[in-house]
Symmetry: C2
Subunit: 238 residues, 2 copies
DNA sequence: TATTGTAATGTTGTCTGACAACATGATAGG
DNA sequence: CCTATCATGTTGTCAGACAACATTACAATA
């Protein structure tokens, strides 16, 4: 089959064409979050298609997370998630996956601590101390304690001043968070809690020194300790 | 507003319910890539809805990349991309973004080289040498030369034996590849090429020694050199 | 017997019209 | 001023029709 002939014959699917047109407007900024799309009736008239085609196009945009429809009102452009990286979460994470992702997390978190030592702001140090207090003060080690812990790490990633550290470490945290919840619910020994709190405090203090080497070492110690506490043997060379 | 009342009142959007049902079947494996979905007519009868609702559900699934429709034939489940991590590429990458992503890439690639030194297979070493030959032999430094270069790094990531290294480094490579193409098109000095080839050869040879520390150091040297060659000053502590 | 052409049937793509359900704004009544 | 009702507009769903494409079966011809 001559591919030139096939190209001539193929007519683009109408809903996809219209969905692409609006996606383009959203991505290039001429349609902003909160903006209302034209009514279905108006779009059908403007593009010279049936309302069915318009509705299927909106179904596509909805599925892509770009718009939401409100019955009786219209379709509105959604805020695009600040998140620029997405980790597939369709499959439940088994122990091997967790170990693999944890292994990848280690060099990232260590580098983030070093960069945060150099680049943090006063506000970020305050936020880090607040997260540390939430870790220390929690009465729900496996619930809000995990949230505070992951917040602590996210704040460090943000303090690198490099958005990708924030994005990647945030994505990884989201993916492993429920595994950590389960691990903490199953074992709440007091010395485990005490070590975890001490290690986080040491990281916070190390970052405050502004010395990247010290900060990196404190994070390394915590990640090793943390892995051992959940029975993980992780090979790494950082 | 009492949230219990709101829960009772809210009826889920029909196309979304049907799309979710099929997405579930696809994710849990009862529908496999290549399988044909029931006809629209049959689905409408089975679910007791109009064909419009079914079509909007299929539009959603199509938009999620889970199915493709063939006119006159039916809708078929698509292969799910092996990729489990997605980097948003809606926005063009500027120099600052490139530097930030490169900064994050450094600890990952160094750790990957170390792990690859320990875990590589004979086939992976052969593939790495083949990619190295493609780098060395290319007459199109900015085209197939870049492809070979990124393949080289992907093979190393795969040789870690940890799928997340492959996924993350692959995602990053896809995102920065066209920037590298442009950089190489703009400057093709012979000593730049010679250094790049020598550094890749050193990495290949270091991984072959099975010594993670040596491999890590070779990758570090390359990443520093590579950054300098494109005029990037990157702060890192690995 | 093998190949080609045609007809029948089935399926997706699009259109039209109608009504249900929801939302908003204006107006009237207390 | 507040509440209820009505009118109008918009999305959600249904039903029917026809276009466009795909597949299969059967007949005609070499």
């Amino acid at each position: 089959m001559d591919s030139g002939l096939e190209q001539i014959k193929r007519v683009a699917h109408l809903p996809t064409r219209i969905a692409s047109e609006f996606a383009k407007r959203i991505y290039e900024g001429s349609l902003q979050p909160g903006d209302k799309l034209p009514t279905e009736h108006m779009m059908a008239k403007t593009f010279g298609v049936s309302r069915t085609v318009v509705r299927e196009a909106i179904a596509q945009l909805r599925s892509e997370g770009l718009v939401e429809s409100r019955q009786g009102v219209g379709a509105f452009v959604l805020e695009r998630p600040a998140r620029q990286i997405y980790l597939d979460d369709a499959k439940a994470m088994d122990r091997h996956d967790f170990r693999s992702l944890y292994q990848l997390r280690i060099p990232l978190e260590m580098e983030a601590a070093a960069l945060a030592a150099v680049h943090h702001t006063t506000a970020q140090m305050d936020a880090l101390s607040a997260a540390l207090s939430r870790i220390t003060d929690t009465e729900n080690w496996g619930g809000s304690g995990v949230e505070a812990d992951l917040d602590f790490h996210r704040i460090i990633a943000e303090a690198t001043g490099n958005i990708y550290f924030g994005q990647f470490i945030g994505a990884i945290s989201d993916r492993i968070s429920h595994v950590i919840v389960i691990a903490r619910t199953e074992g709440q020994l007091e010395d485990v809690i005490a070590h975890t709190i001490e290690e986080h405090t040491a990281i916070r203090d190390a970052i405050r020194t502004k010395d990247p080497v010290v900060a990196r070492a404190a994070m390394r110690r915590h990640l090793i300790g943390s892995a051992q506490r959940v029975g993980l043997s992780i090979e790494f060379y950082s």
